[in-house]
Amino acid sequence: MRREAIINTAVYLALPALAVAALILDEPFTITLATRAAILALAAVGLNLALGLGGLVSLGHAVFFGLGGYAMGILASHAQSYAPLVDGWIVIEGSKSMPVIWLVAVLGSALAALVIGVLSLRTSGVYFIMITLAFGQMFYYFSISWPAYGGEDGLSIYVRNAFPGLNTLDPIQFFGLVFVLLSLVLWGMSRIARSPFGMALSAARQNPARVETVGLSPFRLRLVAFVISGAVTGLAGALFADLNRFVSPTMFSWQMSGEFIVFVVLGGIGRLFGPVAGACLFVLLEHTLSGVSEFWLIYVGAILLLVVLFARGGLIGSLAGREVADD
């Protein structure tokens, strides 16, 4: 096995190992912590396709995270109150079923990514960052000022949504569900990275002129990457809302987008398991350092600074060395 493969396996198994250990030691809070890390990892895995492979520094991925969250919140709150979501010549009921919620979250955030992508991918560099940030702020302030679903206070869901055959309120079962989803998405991403599309996307990051000269459109490649990326982050948003049984405008905030970028950079930009390693490290630091100091983010900032200055490949990169081109 290559060194990166060994490290990836270790990172991959760390979360379930922690969850199982916590189960044996009867520490449900730790399981919830592992679940939180897995969900944030999933969101960052989504971002990594755009940021790592595509080179698109999106400071607006919280849009998709928030849309996923509100897809869950809105559907579940209607199911909770037995008030149909749409009550006209067609009737759309709310839903407490996770698969339905996930589907809505994925399609909704993919659609948003398509619209935002079409409008923002014409630009590049700092303008792209600013436009995605502006979209994020639009959604954030809209969610604050729209009173129907809690506005600034957010929206509470009393019972976690259901998945056929599972008791999702049991922390370890919910963790298992999240971990299976994370695994499936990671598998999909590993396929995409080596696929014809992944190769062309990576080339468009390295040298857009080259891609055009062989007859491909960098814009279209980036747009498709952005849509897939947004959809994955949207799925993570739905799970995050379900974990907390709560949705609020915070999910749309630019700090959230910034955190996703931090996960990816900490773990290793463009590395398959980079965002997983980054999200786990972040949650770990958040958990341990927030007990030490109220200003724990200062330490995270210092670590990030060290990574950017001295370990450009992030956690995975500094452990595994330079990326090997695979054949």
Partner: protein, 250 residues
């Protein structure tokens, strides 16, 4: 006389008061190498950029293979069969040599919208890429990272990627740039065989190469074509001699 494959008709491009391309008309016929020469700042790169599609002309027309391509972008012109190489190598530096060639084959062969099958396991793409690498003599470098190649090897790879497109015409911007004497000779010999695949519009500073290869030469000075003809015509042309005054003319 055979019908030209590429026709540039009355092309104009100005940057402010500077007429970078001033009513340029050129043709590229099947089987020929048409060299474009001129002193520095004559507007060769600007002209190439307009033909390749990266820069829109102010006026004029570019007809390729009987079709007006003036409004098409770079990618569409590449798909129409225009294979371009750059003055400064434009390659995916993190890729291996073979991956760069496969990217070319992928662009030409289609199928980029596939998300699951590993691209490097696609036998068709690989075969096309490997054939192109073999033609330029880079087979033994296939597994190396492109960033680690020598300058000359990158130039060859650039040509190999263009070959994977199986273009109807080549557009080459100084393929000899930065090659040593030996490298230049090899590239010259290679381009000499390449004209049987497709005609080449060649921008080049290396006069030995130009006079060895070109069936026709056009001389660009201050954005204008001042002469077009065979190597002998150009050598004998007094206007060209004046334009090149102070520069070595073989």
């Amino acid at each position: 006389m055979t019908e030209p494959l590429l026709q540039i008709i009355g092309l104009r491009k100005s940057f402010g008061a500077l007429r970078a391309t001033d009513d340029v008309s050129l043709t590229l016929r099947p089987g020929e190498i048409h060299a474009l020469i001129g002193p520095n700042g004559a507007g060769k790169s600007t002209l190439i950029a307009q033909v390749a599609g990266g820069l829109a002309p102010d006026a004029g027309q570019i007809v390729f293979d009987g079709r007006d391509v003036t409004a098409l972008g770079t990618a569409a012109r590449a798909r129409a069969g225009l294979g371009r190489t750059f003055q400064i190598s434009a390659l995916a530096m993190d890729f291996t040599v073979l991956q760069n060639a496969v990217l070319g084959a992928l662009g030409a062969g289609g199928g980029v919208w596939r998300f699951f099958r590993p691209v490097m396991r696609d036998a068709g793409l690989r075969a096309r890429a490997e054939a192109a690498l073999a033609r330029v003599g880079l087979t033994d470098q296939a597994g190396r990272r492109t960033a680690d190649l020598s300058h000359g090897q990158r130039r060859l790879l650039e040509v190999a990627v263009a070959l994977t497109l199986e273009p109807r015409a080549f557009l080459m911007d100084e393929p000899m740039a930065g090659l040593g004497g030996e490298g230049s000779k090899r590239m010259t010999a290679f381009l000499d065989t390449l004209r049987r695949d497709a005609p080449i519009l060649l921008v080049e500073h290396d006069m030995d190469a130009v006079f060895a290869l070109a069936d026709r030469i056009s001389v660009l000075v201050y954005g204008k074509v001042i002469a077009t003809g065979t190597a002998e015509d150009i050598r004998a042309n007094p206007e060209v001699r004046t334009a090149y005054l102070g520069e070595e003319m073989p």
